[in-house]
């Protein structure tokens, strides 16, 4: 055997094993994926990457255009809660005023949504905010807060309808005390 033969091509399983594709994060936390496993998501992203390469790049908009676009987008975001309002109102109306787990959950969601939205207002508008549209963004934010307050008001209306607001005399009755008589009379059976 003078002429050294090139080593035979590694079998497919070796190739699979040594392939550089990093094993994707396993779906189910504790169990590691088997070696050589390629997750379907990794495959699809590859494919999409390859397909996006085919599209020709669009012309970049100018910063002014970007600002208008961002502002437009911001207004869209700010008015989104107001758009949900009629639907919420109908939902609330339909769920009735009785104290049931369903209506309680709905009311809870109704309160949670606006409050978290207002708390996260900075992060919501951060990526749309630029140096130039900052002043305009203030108005947008105010509108956003206003819309959320409207949603809160709807929640309050609902809660009031359910009788959970202590607005009537009977709600404070437990704190009213009976008048103490200064004299006492006792019956003496004869």
């Amino acid at each position: 055997m003078a002429g050294q033969l090139p080593p035979p091509p590694p079998p497919q399983w070796v190739l699979d094993l040594t392939s550089t594709t990093t094993p994707s994060k396993p779906k189910s936390g504790s169990i590691p994926d088997p070696p050589g496993f390629t997750s379907t998501t990794a495959l699809t992203t590859k494919q999409s990457k390859s397909s996006s390469k085919a599209i020709t790049p669009r012309k970049q908009p100018s910063p002014d255009e970007m600002d208008t676009l961002k502002l437009k987008k911001a207004w869209e975001l700010a008015l989104a809660p107001a758009k949900q309002l009629p639907m919420n109102a109908i939902g609330m109306y339909m769920s009735g005023n009785s104290l049931q787990i369903f209506s309680i959950m709905m009311v809870f969601m109704l309160f949670k949504g606006p409050i978290t939205a207002v708390l996260n207002i900075q992060s919501t508008f951060q990526r749309l905010e630029t140096e130039t549209n900052r002043t305009q963004m203030l108005g947008v934010k105010a509108a956003f807060v206003g819309c959320n307050l409207l949603a809160l008001a709807l929640g309050l209306w609902k809660v009031n309808g359910m009788g959970l607001l202590p607005t009537t005399r009977s709600d404070w009755l437990a704190w009213e005390t009976a008048r103490e008589p200064l004299e006492r009379a006792y019956y003496v059976p004869s």
Partner: protein
């Protein structure tokens, strides 16, 4: 919204007011009582002459005729002959040999009753009060085939002896006499009827006069005086007049009980016997026990009793020459004893019951035929009290020549009626409770301590309360070994549902309260409301002479203590758990030491007087012609949870809450009007009054006042536009009828009725009810959160109903449907006729007879109120007017709950590896 929620609960509650089937005979208890039996009216008798099974018949001191099954002590039937019990009334009960009827005599009524089922055969009213009733045991050919005839002796203005037909109750003949001779007793031999009359001499002594009558025609055949001029000071020393024996006798003693004189009726000779004193004590009582059958041997037993001992002599009557001879003596024994007569064919047996043995002798000789030791009667008595037999009736079973068994129904000095089979108690009936005149609930001392600890924790500041609780639990750890030991048993019982929930000491629900009953004969009897089968203790607290009465009122001023107040003694206190008298505690007026001097008011000479510190405060005189029927003050301890009523639209209607309220009922006998006043008892002001005319004042008028509402009922006579009917009126007092308005005093912290006379706004509504209510009470709970029930005693149907307040609410809308808001409150449209829902009946199918009063007490659980009714019968139950919202019912299936948990645990363990394998496979296998 809270209101609809409450309303919804209320509606659900109304639709489901039924008791759970498993609680119906569990939480309630009932003693069907007869009252203390009397020696002369109690006997064993075969209701069906062909069968040997006998029942015990008695006509008690309460005027109740009944038959008791000697096997288990249950009442077979009973009849209330007197609606108003008279102590020591004169009553008679006789049963002819081999007859299926018993004949009773009480007041002026003679009646025959079927012995088997208590149905009335006939009833006859005599001209005057009855003095005696006997059954005529003779065979003169005129007798009808059926029931034997009865003879009755009546007194009054025209005393008479009457022979009554046994089947129809018609009078066969009547013998009347004029003159001053008082009728005493009647007696019959097989050939003659004797009427014994008392003839008053000029010196005030009495003489016995015997009138012989022909039983067929009723004509007088002979008359003679048997006792000498000044032998008898009064009729009280006449010992006995025998009847229906082969030779009836009359016996009397002199007033010192030293000589016994006996006369055989129909003869003139008097046999005289000296009563030997066996010790230094004088003979106090002499009694004669003789068989009640004409074909029995004519032997009788004389029972002598001193304060410390008793003995007896047996006498034989020689029928041929009418001589009486002493046959033998039964030896003296210490303590009291009871003798009873039993017959078998002609033989006569005497049974002697003493505190430690039962002994049977034949009348012929003194040989003891049977002797059984009595280990105990199995009844509760007071500390240091020895239980003595008072009287007995017995039935002797004879096998050959020996006595095989003796059944004796013995009345004990504790008021228990016990059946002894030979020497062992089979059952006991606490007949003493039938004469209960006052009763109260008392919390046992142990529970009271627990309550106080809980209250300390509730009202202290959080940190100290927490420390208090931890130390309490650490102390509780000492009980751990005992609890651990009993744990397996408790778990098993919990599963099987047989747990008898603990004793008095470990009562965390407050169901085991002690009920103290003061009885007419001066005893105090304590029952456990949670375990009513047993009497806790029973003792004599008042030493009453014969015929003397007392009006005790028992109360529980604090936990663990029972206090008796009567005219003679003010505030004697007893330990509720043991019955020991507490000596060291002086009765303290708990009303003293308050801010101002209390007003005390009482009914005095038909008027209502109120005093403050001996000065007259106010004075209520009924209008002319009116008399006070009753006065019901608001209970002193009447907690109210909410000071207002929440309306459907969540506004508030404020209640008029004044602790100083009383409901006064007056009646005018001439105009047939009844007036109902709600009074302020501080100022004497009339807050509300209402007059009802055309009231049947013979029917009961009951009334009740609690919280801010009152109720009363009466019977209205028929008038031009309405028929006779029973009415229930409910009224509610409000500060103002405008919602959210607290009235003129507004939210001021305190007020004086003397200075500010606010008047309530009253709403009242009348309901037509199907029968009269003889007594009313109301449920009470710990904090007053639970809704109320009006407890109404229905004497006509022998029942107690609990009417929910919502049904009689005066705010029910009249002649229109309720609005939505009113519906949310649970108000329904007013309808004038109120039918008692069968679910309201607390007694279910039992008959609760003769209830005079109902007391209620809160349990420790807010949902529950304890109820105790007394009178003739004793009945008690637990009520949850708003359901047992704070305790799991018996219908809660513990087993199912634990099984579900266990099944889930098993499922988790089984499924976990399966899921793990599936997850691994999901990674490794490709489809």
């Amino acid at each position: 919204m809270r209101v609809p929620w409450i309303a919804a609960t209320f509606f659900l509650a109304r639709s489901a007011l039924a008791v759970f089937a498993d609680e119906a005979w569990n939480v309630d208890y009932h003693y069907a009582l007869l009252g203390l039996p009397k020696q002369s009216t109690s006997f064993f008798h075969q209701p069906n002459p062909s069968s040997r099974a006998s029942l015990i018949y008695t006509l008690s001191e309460e005027g109740v005729l009944g038959a008791v099954n000697p096997r288990d002590g249950s009442v077979v039937w009973r009849q209330l002959l007197l609606s108003e019990a008279l102590a020591y009334n004169v009553s008679f009960l006789r049963a002819g040999e081999g007859q299926d009827t018993v004949i009773s005599g009480i007041g002026s009524q003679v009646a025959a009753w079927s012995a088997a089922d208590g149905r009335q055969a006939w009833i006859l009213d005599t001209a005057g009060p009855l003095q005696d009733v006997e059954i005529l045991e003779l065979s003169d050919g005129r007798e009808t085939a059926g029931a034997k005839d009865a003879i009755a002796l009546s007194g009054g203005e025209h005393p008479a002896v009457v022979r009554i037909d046994g089947t129809s109750g018609a009078i066969k003949w009547q013998y009347q006499w004029d003159g001053v001779d008082q009728p005493y007793q009647v007696s019959a031999s097989t050939t003659e009827v004797f009427a014994i009359l008392l003839h008053k001499t000029l010196l005030g002594y009495v003489k016995l006069k015997v009138v012989s009558l022909d039983p067929v025609t009723g004509r007088k055949t002979d008359e003679h005086v048997v006792s000498s001029e000044n032998e008898l000071a009064s009729a009280e020393t006449i010992v006995s007049v025998g009847a229906n024996s082969a030779s009836p006798i009359v016996a009397w003693t002199n007033s010192a009980h030293s000589v016994l004189k006996v006369n055989i009726l129909g003869t003139k000779e008097i046999s005289s016997f000296n009563i030997e004193a066996h010790d230094s004590h004088a003979v106090e009582r002499v009694e004669i026990h003789a068989p009640y059958h004409t074909n029995s041997l004519s032997h009788f037993l004389v029972h002598y009793e001193t304060a410390t001992s008793h003995w007896a002599d047996v006498f034989h009557i020689d029928l041929k020459n009418s001589k009486i001879e002493k046959a033998y003596s039964l030896p003296k024994m210490t303590g009291k004893g009871a003798f009873s007569t039993g017959t078998s064919d002609a033989n006569v047996f005497f049974t002697r019951v003493t505190r430690d043995q039962v002994m049977t002798v034949s009348s012929a000789s003194h040989g003891v035929l049977g002797r059984w030791a009595v280990a105990g009667f199995g009844v509760a008595a007071g500390p240091g009290e020895s239980v003595e037999p008072v009287h007995a009736v017995s039935e002797v079973s004879i096998k050959g020549t020996s006595v095989s068994a003796v059944r004796s129904a013995v009345l004990l000095s504790t008021g228990d009626w016990v059946l002894l089979r030979d020497g062992s108690p089979v059952w006991n009936r606490p007949e003493v409770l039938a004469s209960t005149v006052s009763a109260t609930f008392a919390i046992p001392a142990e529970v009271q301590e627990f309550v106080q600890q809980l209250e300390a924790e509730a009202h202290g500041n959080p940190i100290s309360a927490y420390i208090h609780r931890v130390t309490r639990h650490l102390q509780d750890l000492q009980k751990l070994p005992a609890i651990m030991a009993s744990l397996p048993q408790r778990i098993v019982q919990g599963f099987l549902g047989t747990s008898a929930d603990g004793g008095i000491a470990s009562d965390s629900f407050g169901f085991h309260q002690i009920i103290a009953c003061a009885t007419r004969d001066g005893r105090l009897v304590a029952l456990d409301a949670g375990n009513p089968d047993k009497v806790l203790w029973n003792q004599q607290v008042a030493d009453l002479q014969l015929g003397q009465t007392w009006q005790p009122s028992v109360s529980s001023p604090e936990g663990g203590i029972i206090e008796i107040n009567s005219k003679a003694s003010a505030g004697v206190r007893y330990n509720a758990s043991t019955g020991e008298q507490l000596f060291s505690i002086l009765p303290i007026d708990e009303t003293a030491g308050e801010v101002a001097l209390p007003v005390k008011y009482a009914i005095h000479k038909g008027e209502l007087d109120a005093t403050v510190d001996t000065k007259m405060a106010w004075h209520f005189t009924p209008m002319s012609g009116e008399r006070i029927v009753s006065l019901v003050p608001r209970p002193v301890n009447d907690p109210v949870a909410s000071i207002g009523k929440v309306l459907g639209d969540r506004r508030v209607l404020y209640k008029y809450l004044d602790p100083n309220l009383a409901l006064l009922v007056t009646a005018n006998d001439v105009t047939k009007a009844a007036t109902f006043y709600v009074l302020n008892t501080i100022s004497g002001a009339i807050l509300y009054s209402n007059v009802h005319s055309g009231v049947d004042l013979g029917s009961p008028i009951s009334s009740m006042l609690s919280e801010n509402w009152f109720a009363y009922s009466f019977t209205a006579e028929a008038s031009a536009n309405s028929p006779k009917g029973h009415q229930l009126v409910a009224g509610e007092l409000f500060e103002s009828l405008v919602a959210n308005d607290r009235g003129p005093l507004s939210a001021s912290a305190n007020y004086s009725s003397m200075q500010t006379g606010t008047e309530p706004f009253t709403l009242a509504q009348t309901y037509q009810i199907p029968e009269p209510i003889s007594h009313m009470a109301v449920t009470r709970t710990r904090q007053g959160i639970t809704s109320r029930q009006l407890l109404a005693v229905l004497a006509d149907s022998s029942a107690i109903v609990g009417i929910p307040y919502g049904v009689i609410d005066p705010r029910r809308p009249v002649s229109r449907d309720p609005t939505k808001d009113e519906q949310m409150e649970g108000l329904v449209r007013y309808s004038p006729v109120l039918d008692f829902d069968p679910k309201w009946y607390l007694n279910h199918q039992r008959e609760i007879v003769g209830i005079k009063d109902v007391v209620t007490s809160p349990a420790l659980l807010e949902s529950t109120s304890l109820v105790f009714a007394y009178g003739l019968d004793v009945f008690g139950t637990r009520l949850s007017p708003s359901f047992s919202f704070d305790v799991l019912g018996k219908d809660f299936n513990k087993f199912q709950m634990l099984a579900t948990v266990a099944a889930l645990a098993v499922a988790t363990f089984v499924v976990a590896p399966l899921v793990a394998r599936k997850q691994v496979n999901a990674r490794w296998q490709f489809a």
